[in-house]
């Protein structure tokens, strides 16, 4: 680990007033770029009666219309593209579990910007040229692997493009290549830690010094466990494909919230019910506006993450605002084993397969891995005295759900009227994972 403190010191420690000035200048240009090149957003602005000339700086942000995930899906595959396709060099994509995927386009400028955000995150956890970064996020359409891979290159680290899975190979490369920084989901980090422990390694025999873990919720307790088993410092990272990918915000040595890369992304907190902006420090839904993206510049994107922003000075010297770990969702999305799942998807499968809509999803965590159970009430006429048929129905439902959402639950058929109801409606989700501290 080197002595380097910042990847881009001038920007990362810029006085707050100057950051706000920079954001205002960039916002004016970004809004004009979007208005002139994205008919979909121009229509939204016209409907709201806002013109680019109404936006003089970040104080006018509230005038702009929101973009919802549904807008991005409706504009599939390239309705939000703001440059000619020929100027793009890459796409990334969401998992598309709620229907159509969101395709994010990148020019080389956009890739550089994103990778620099990841480079800042790596330097913030102590990485430098002589470090060996093991990237065990998935590579491909998912932004996790490519983002940290690019950031690691920018810092000049030796990069191990492991992708996810194949634990034995992960551990062999970690030991043989003496990896010092691990990037993956927190649950996979915990799993790798357990596997090393089983093989008899003590924390001081593991070469890792730091880890950057994101893409799913995790608790302080998980952080402590991972830090103990791997003998490292574990850091959080936040990002979303719609905005760029991992690195929208990252944790520093203070481990007290994630610095948002404010020179590229403007954060607001709004009341999720009314859409009204809330003062900094209030709890509400996190909304992001891209400030200098070319191909896919999304304005006022509603993340649905419930969060708090903190402008207090940070001991690391960075001046960029910090976001707390998301405390929940303003919609009913669940993140199960890193996959986004909505109860409505489960419901759609039940209706399509002729089952009752009285169901309950139960989430738990065993050995750092999510358990995913779906209980469904059997309709009286579906019962034919056979255990075999019940088991067969459970299996076929589980398969249909796996096809729909990408991960398969354990399905349990239960007798009619046995799922608890409140006010006549069954409680759809029981999440016993305690993911939020």
């Amino acid at each position: 680990m080197g002595n380097r403190k910042y990847f881009n010191e001038a920007i990362e420690t810029m006085p707050v007033e100057e950051i706000k000035k920079l954001q205002s200048e960039k916002l004016v240009k970004q809004v004009a770029h979007v208005y002139n090149n994205v008919p979909y957003y121009r229509d939204l602005m016209d409907k709201k009666g806002v013109k680019p000339e109404d936006i003089h700086g970040i104080e006018d942000l509230y005038k702009l219309p929101f973009i919802e995930k549904s807008d991005l899906r409706e504009s599939y595959p390239n309705g939000m593209l703001a440059v000619p396709l020929a100027d793009c060099v890459r796409i990334q994509s969401t998992s598309g579990t709620t229907g159509k995927r969101v395709i994010a386009y990148y020019t080389q400028h956009d890739i550089d910007l994103w990778e620099e955000c990841c480079a800042r995150a790596l330097v913030a956890v102590g990485a430098d040229r002589e470090d060996v970064v093991q990237v065990s996020y998935g590579y491909g359409l998912f932004t996790g692997g490519p983002g940290l891979n690019g950031g690691s290159h920018k810092v000049g680290c030796l990069t191990l493009p492991m992708s996810s899975g194949n634990t034995e190979r992960q551990l062999q490369f970690m030991m043989d290549m003496q990896a010092t920084v691990l990037c993956c989901t927190p649950s996979y980090a915990a799993y790798l830690g357990e596997s090393l422990k089983e093989q008899g390694y003590t924390p001081d025999q593991i070469p890792l010094k730091a880890g950057i873990f994101g893409a799913e919720p995790w608790t302080q307790e998980m952080r402590r466990n991972i830090e103990q088993t791997l003998g490292i410092k574990a850091y959080d990272i936040y990002g979303l494909t719609e905005i760029s990918g991992p690195g929208v915000a990252f944790e520093c040595s203070a481990q007290g919230g994630m610095h948002i890369n404010e020179d590229h992304f403007l954060a607001e907190i709004i009341n999720p019910e009314t859409g009204e902006p809330l003062p900094e420090g209030a709890k509400g839904e996190l909304v992001f506006t891209c400030l200098d993206k070319e191909a896919f510049p999304v304005l006022r994107y509603r993340t649905r993450d419930i969060c708090v922003l903190n402008r207090e000075p940070c001991s690391c010297g960075r001046t960029h605002v910090r976001m707390a770990k998301p405390m929940g969702r303003s919609d009913d999305m669940m993140i199960i084993r890193g996959v986004n799942v909505f109860p409505s998807q489960i419901e759609a499968v039940l209706l399509a397969e002729g089952f009752s809509e009285n169901y309950q999803i139960k989430l738990g965590r065993v050995n750092n891995s999510d358990t995913f159970d779906v209980y469904v009430e059997l309709k009286p006429e579906q019962f034919d005295d056979s255990v075999k048929n019940i088991t067969a129905m459970e299996k076929s439902l589980a398969n249909a759900m796996r096809n729909m959402i990408g991960i398969g639950p354990a399905v349990h058929l239960v007798p009619p009227k046995t799922i608890a109801r409140s006010e006549g409606k069954a409680k759809r989700v029981v999440d016993e994972r305690n993911l939020h501290d």
């Binding site: 209980y375 009286p380 019962f383 005295d385 255990v387 058929l413 007798p415 046995t418």
Partner: protein
């Protein structure tokens, strides 16, 4: 002749069985035999009663998942090897037995059993052709 069996899909929890039997008792339904199959989530209660159709109607009204189907019921001499003889006969005919349970009667010297097989009608025929005594539904009323 195959006889009618009532089965009910119940939760695997305390009180489920009592709810069912209580409902049937109130409707004056006489239970002749009962068997419970359980898994970790649910149970199936199988009942031989004097009026299975009425019982089902009652349970349906209460929102239970109930089913009436034909099962084979037969008597064997109450002595060692009595049942084995019948099972060996069915095995010889390639009949697969899904489940089986005993039926209590006051008749001395005989043991009655109820079974569900892959093919109830064929099983019935095999039993008749081989002179196995079948339980007549009229005996249950």
């Amino acid at each position: 002749m195959a006889i009618k069996q009532l089965s009910v899909f119940v939760e695997n929890k305390q009180g489920s069985l009592h709810d069912i039997t209580d409902a049937l008792a109130k409707a004056n339904i006489d239970l002749r035999s009962m068997c419970v199959a359980d898994t970790s989530n649910y149970g199936i209660v199988r009942i031989i009663a004097n009026d299975p159709d009425k019982a089902k109607e009652l349970l349906d009204k209460d929102g239970h998942a109930a089913n009436v189907r034909l099962v084979n019921a037969f008597a064997v001499p109450d002595q060692p090897g009595g049942l084995a003889k019948v099972l060996s006969l069915l095995e010889g005919h390639g009949v697969n037995i899904d489940y089986m349970y005993a039926l209590i009667t006051s008749e001395e010297g005989k043991a009655y059993s109820v079974m569900r097989t892959g093919n109830t009608e064929e099983t019935d025929k095999i039993l008749i052709e081989n002179g196995i005594e079948l339980l007549d539904e009229s005996k249950l009323h």
